[in-house]
Point group: none
Chain length 203, copies 4
């Protein structure tokens, strides 16, 4: 039995990530990836079905993390009116993303700014849509629990807020903020955002 040549697959992924990051999905070429990975071009296809599959594999951990966040969003513990009066909700909600950003800084850049041409090129939209849907459900559930709050907010507004989030994440990763800076920014954002929501929900 042959000794596995260390970790060619990981080598390829590593090189590919760098290439994708430097030139974007479309402009990164299989030829280049092969050359830089010290691998025959066709040999790559023993490890991946196509270019897109490499891209997906590079971003797989991030995608899993994002799914996890989405699923936990409307959990019971978040369906609490105190959330609106304290800054805790935003803070907790935000911290989840802070962790995400610190862990996946590069991958987020890749996903948000360099995915053109891949099967994830519309991720921004799709994620915003999913996020909006969940946001709307959240408001519904809150209204059921606390009928007096004001939730007559246009879906588009929610959509914009979701989009804002993505933009903010994009901003953070594209400026390579360190954790401290992120925290500082978040506190500013909290002040701003909490005030806004309080006003608009009359909560």
């Amino acid at each position: 039995m042959q000794v596995q040549k260390v970790n060619i697959k990981k080598d390829i992924i590593a090189v590919a990530r760098k290439e994708f990051f430097d030139r974007g999905f479309k402009d990164a070429s299989m030829r280049m990836i092969a050359k830089k990975a010290g691998v025959g071009l066709s040999n790559i296809y023993n490890y991946f079905r196509n270019k897109d599959e490499i891209f997906l594999e590079v971003l797989a951990p991030l995608m899993r993390a994002l799914d996890k966040i989405m699923i936990e969003h409307n959990s019971q513990e978040n369906l609490n009116i105190d959330i609106f009066n304290s800054e805790e909700y935003y803070f907790r909600h935000t911290n989840i993303y802070v962790d995400l950003i610190v862990t996946f800084n590069d991958e987020l850049k890749l996903l948000l700014f360099q995915s053109y041409g891949s099967s994830l090129e519309n991720f921004r939209d799709e994620y915003t849509d999913r996020h909006t849907k969940i946001g709307m459900e959240y408001l519904q559930k809150m209204k059921e629990k606390y009928p007096w709050i004001h939730v007559d907010i246009s879906e588009f507004f929610i959509h914009t807020m979701s989009s804002w989030w993505i933009s903010i994440i994009g901003e953070i990763v594209s400026h390579n903020l360190n954790t401290e800076e992120i925290k500082k920014f978040i506190s500013e954002y909290m002040e701003f955002g909490t005030a806004g929501w309080k006003k608009i929900m009359k909560a």
Copy 2:
């Protein structure tokens, strides 16, 4: 009797805009533009140096409008403390963009979502940077005039706000809101944003 081709250049631009809009800068092909414009492919190069120049020309009116807005941003009439207490500032500021959006809906979509591969592919960033700079200058000037206000806000926060603006514009144009819907959204946004700024500037 041959019909005189009065305005080939305009024809090309018209076709190019549609192609750029439908397929994005990179995936729009010169061949297609030539064919649809009823023009010889190489003839295009008598009117434009290259593909990018066509793109720039398509977006020129929009770019001029954006520059104009930028220049007027820090004019004397905007340097007034009343602005923070009323919603007027935001409203006026916003209306400028509403006009812009209504006028340049298609061009904005093109610029914000379909410019990959062109010399404007980083417009979002560049615009945000410029906008941030101007925003910072604005705060400085206000501080000089009204020393008691709180302007110790991180540049990054301003940057994020600028980015938010762009995102919002992107959201609006990509959802084809009509003027009425835009107005409705703006009023929601106003409530939210004004409250936020008031809080953060302690004004």
Copy 3:
């Protein structure tokens, strides 16, 4: 205005025909066609959308001729009982094909034996099916006119006869018979076939 470089398109088609004929559709390569036609590879795509289109163009005259024959098959003058008793029907019918074969010897070889991989790779089947359908209609119409003839022949038998035709054509072209030899063969075939049909139709 530029002088048309003689007839590049025709050059390409000529070379392509030879290549297709020598190696078959699939194994003929665009590179080779380009090289032998003294044309830049990519330049071919200024004349043809793809490899298949060249193939189709090579075979276009043949295809038109085949369609014509098919359409004329069930014309009024052929719906006559005398046809079964004389050898004339077969003869006339056959002569049409003789002309076809003499004119399109090479193209027929190409179509019948070398089209694998092209959009015409199933031509044999498709043609046989069409021919069978028309043959069945022919029998129906004859039965209406001459109710006493025996037309209770299985569709499959007709199908086989159609297929036979194609095979015979294939045989002829792949053996490069000259017109004289074709005629001789046809007379043998006539004797054989007429006797067969007479018997089976009890006409």
Copy 4:
């Protein structure tokens, strides 16, 4: 406990047959065969020299059967004048093929329609040639025994008849006729063919 791979070679052949049958020789890929056979790609080359050898092995039983038929064709018992007056000759002759078809339906399809790219891609021609030669010898021997019969038939006509046979076999297998349908078709064919031969041989 590991299951012993008893008959890898047979497994490979079984999978290969299916792949060849589904996609044809050329479009069946070694990769796929290996994967579906649960065998390492390169391991196949321990059992077969190359792709073509697998193909040959898949078709070996059929090829042996075909050879057997060919050899028996001109045996003494077939060299009998009664054969022309009865339908028995054709019937017997045909039944041999009926058995062949029923037994090797799939293999025949493969050989006749899917062998492009293999060393058997010209089987149709080669078989027809061999068959023609034997047919000619048969006529010679008959003429020696029964000098009065008419055997001045062009080789090409015999060739065509041989080709017809192959076509008919092709038709039958490609329409998946069951035994009953084959029999029915044969009786139609018998009527047709016997009449034809009678006429042409003046027997």
